[in-house]
């Protein structure tokens, strides 16, 4: 991987051009004037930024170089759940919360329900909409038009597959899920030691991505205390009977992912494909070195070959915590980090994040990268194209941790135990519904 060298010149996109783009509804929030912004950015200020991004100091340095009065302290408070736990504790204690925080798309509602995030509209966030991949804006926008965070990176879902195993068994890249199922049966019959894929029984995030692709609307918040939950509707049940069927037939694996056994399986050719996200290619090239050159990327198989869709799995944003004493500077930092041409390019070249901005996605140096691990295929371009097929109306529940745990104990368990996945979806639905009602929500939906 020598993507570092690909970005020679900065194809700068001026912020001014973006400002001409459609401005969002600024609601009742009072906009902050440019002179207030200038004053805040030139006043000596110290901020704290919680993030688990390695070497993020480099992007932060760009900001500090431009605004020498500001000092940003980077704290790694853990990756994902551990960080959120600490953040909740700090928020409840009323002390020790950071000014800015890295937060994954799916967790935004979990922190807006407790009114912990700052609406970024007064700080000119609405004007940035056109710079980001379309669907990400839907993810960071609240029910009342609030802008809760700035997209940092994304994870549109695709298929990584072993070209050599496909060739050996005469399998072509499946265009539809039906073809995928046929290939799964064919491959496992030809070689009982090989499975077409592994759908991890503990990976609710991948399931949500597949729901997203299928056009499901499992969670619809219609107000702060009203939520419609439909995780066992017809779309979900189609997904359930499809994957449950493959699991019961024993033609796919369902072992937990990101474990030693799973890494070994990817290295040993036990699985011929990995249904993953745009961050998958770089990840795989680092953790399945034994298979270099054998993998290729493709879009997900489709339910309707005529209209390609995908879902998203992973990616993060930068949000500002409402309790910050320096909202202007914190908001400016979140904007700079995720829209400054040098900073966003660095995300792609230093941390190998899959970009959230159209500018970096279109950069020939990024899109034209042809890693040897994928036989010289332009994998970034494959996933950039997939990114345009992700719907922007998918919503997350404000109690995601519970939903994820319930999924693993119902749907995930049914996949692992080869029991009725469609019935498990009903259990999942009733468990989430009971939890939501217990938490005081008015629950609708099927």
């Amino acid at each position: 991987m020598n993507r570092r060298s690909f970005f020679a010149a900065a194809g700068a996109v001026s912020l001014g051009a973006a400002l001409a783009a459609c401005g969002g509804d600024t609601g009742s929030a009072q906009s902050v004037s440019q002179s207030d912004v200038d004053k805040a950015l030139s006043t000596p200020t110290e901020l704290t930024f919680w993030t688990w991004l390695p070497n993020v100091d480099r992007e932060v340095a760009l900001f500090q170089k431009k605004y020498p009065a500001i000092k940003v302290n980077v704290v790694n408070a853990g990756q994902g759940t551990p960080q959120y736990t600490k953040l909740r504790t700090a928020l409840q204690a009323g002390a020790g919360a950071p000014d800015m925080v890295q937060i994954e798309y799916q967790y935004i509602p979990t922190f807006t329900i407790t009114d912990s995030l700052l609406d970024l509209r007064p700080y000119g966030a609405a004007a940035l909409k056109s710079q980001f991949v379309d669907w990400t804006w839907g993810q960071v926008t609240g029910a009342g038009g609030e802008i809760w965070a700035m997209p940092q990176d994304t994870g549109p879902m695709g298929l990584l597959y072993r070209q050599d195993i496909f060739d050996q068994h005469g399998i072509t890249v499946p265009k539809t899920w039906d073809e995928f199922a046929d290939a799964a049966h064919k491959l496992h019959a030809a070689d009982p030691n090989v499975y077409l894929t592994n759908l991890a029984a503990n990976q609710a995030a991948a399931w949500h991505g597949l729901l997203w692709q299928a056009g499901a609307k499992p969670y619809v918040s219609t107000g702060k205390s009203d939520i419609a939950i439909s995780v066992s509707d017809n779309i979900s049940k189609r997904l359930g009977s499809y994957w449950g069927g493959l699991a019961r037939d024993g033609v796919i694996g369902t072992e937990p992912d990101f474990t030693d056994a799973w890494y070994s399986a990817l290295n040993n050719g036990k699985y011929a494909t990995w249904i993953t996200a745009a961050w998958g290619p770089v990840f795989l090239s680092g953790s399945a070195k034994a298979t270099a050159g054998k993998w290729r990327a493709a879009p997900l198989p489709q339910w309707d070959a005529g209209s390609p869709h995908s879902g998203n799995w992973g990616g993060s944003t930068t949000a500002v915590i409402k309790t910050t004493k320096n909202p202007i500077v914190a908001a400016m930092f979140a904007k700079f980090l995720n829209t400054d041409p040098a900073s966003t390019k660095m995300f792609a070249t230093e941390q190998f994040l899959f970009p959230a901005t159209k500018a970096v996605l279109a950069d020939p140096a990024f899109a034209g990268d042809k890693p040897a691990f994928y036989g010289g295929q332009a994998v970034n371009q494959v996933f950039a194209d997939i990114g345009n097929t992700v719907s922007s109306s998918f919503q997350w529940p404000p109690f995601l941790d519970q939903v994820v745990t319930d999924w693993t104990e119902t749907v995930g368990k049914s996949l692992a135990d080869k029991t009725d996945t469609v019935a498990a979806l009903d259990q999942w639905q009733s468990r989430i519904t009971a939890f939501a009602k217990n938490q005081g929500f008015t629950v609708g939906g099927k």
Partner: protein, 288 residues
């Protein structure tokens, strides 16, 4: 300064820490358990509602039943092994006694986090050494991480971790037995087995009660090992697999801190009850 005041001064540091780090959190948890917090509607006082809910909560009861089962099966095995090792070391008939003693004790020095990760690898279905060896010899190997085996697999990890620790306690107790007793027994014509049975075992009773109490607490609070093996067996180890894991999940997954405090309190009561049960039984035996 009188002896009374001096005594109070000596005890003061302990009392201060005891108040601050034990009683205060306990009191706070008790306070929390009387409320209910909801995402919509905030916090309300509910009195003993949480307790009424918990005593009929199937997940909680199942978790307690599971750790009780674990206790009944794992603890006797562990203590018998620890006792055998301690008596063997004490008999002086063993060569390299020091090396053996250290070898049995070393697993206790391994943090349980590391131990669980290590055993997780050993238990692996595809690439674990047991499974690979089984394939090599064409011997079927049980699915250590599967539903029916998992509790046994956990018991094995905990036994491996704590046999050495309990052995050291028993061994230390054996070393304090006065040699006069052995001499007297030998004069009366007792052999090594008879001495072990009639002299050593009765002298070990207080130490055995101690190890048993530690085991009650450890078993009923079982958390680390299942929590660490959870990613490897997510379909078996659910969020309420043990009572302690259930309390943790309630607090950090469901944001139900109040109910988590209730469950923790009830678990504490169960442990107190079982511990006192054992103490009571062993004291009565002594009076008879």
């Amino acid at each position: 300064m009188g002896p009374r005041r001096a005594g109070a001064l000596f005890v003061a540091p302990f009392l201060a820490l005891f108040l601050l780090l034990f009683l205060a959190p306990l009191g706070y948890a008790a306070y929390l358990s009387l409320f209910q917090h909801r995402l919509i509607g905030g916090t309300v006082f509910v009195g003993l509602d949480n307790y009424l809910k918990a005593v009929t909560d199937p997940v909680f009861l199942r978790g307690v039943a599971r750790v009780a089962t674990f206790f009944v099966i794992q603890v006797p095995v562990m203590l018998v092994l620890a006792l055998v090792f301690a008596l063997t070391l004490d008999s002086g008939l063993l060569r390299l006694a020091r090396v053996v003693r250290l070898g049995i004790f070393v697993p206790y020095a391994v943090p349980s986090v590391v131990a669980a990760l290590m055993w997780g690898y050993l238990y692996g279905r595809d690439y674990g050494p047991f499974a690979q060896l089984g394939r090599l010899l064409h011997v079927p190997v049980p699915d250590f991480l599967g539903g029916s085996w998992l509790l046994g697999s956990l018991a094995n990890v905990v036994t491996w971790e704590f046999v050495g620790y309990n052995m050291i306690i028993l061994y230390a107790a054996l070393r304090t037995i006065s040699p006069d007793l052995y001499e007297a027994a030998a004069v009366d014509g007792a052999g090594a087995w008879r001495i072990a049975w009639s002299v050593k075992l009765p002298a070990l009773r207080p130490a055995l009660v101690l190890t048993l109490l530690f085991s009650v607490i450890g078993s009923f609070q079982l958390f680390n090992e299942p929590k660490l093996l959870q990613p490897l067996a997510p379909a078996v180890i659910d969020s309420g697999y043990t009572a302690n894991l259930y309390a943790y999940s309630l607090a950090f997954t469901g944001q139900q801190v109040n109910y988590a405090a209730t469950v923790s309190f009830l678990l504490g009561l169960v442990i107190v009850a079982v511990s006192y049960g054992f103490l009571f039984a062993s004291n009565r035996r002594r009076e008879v």
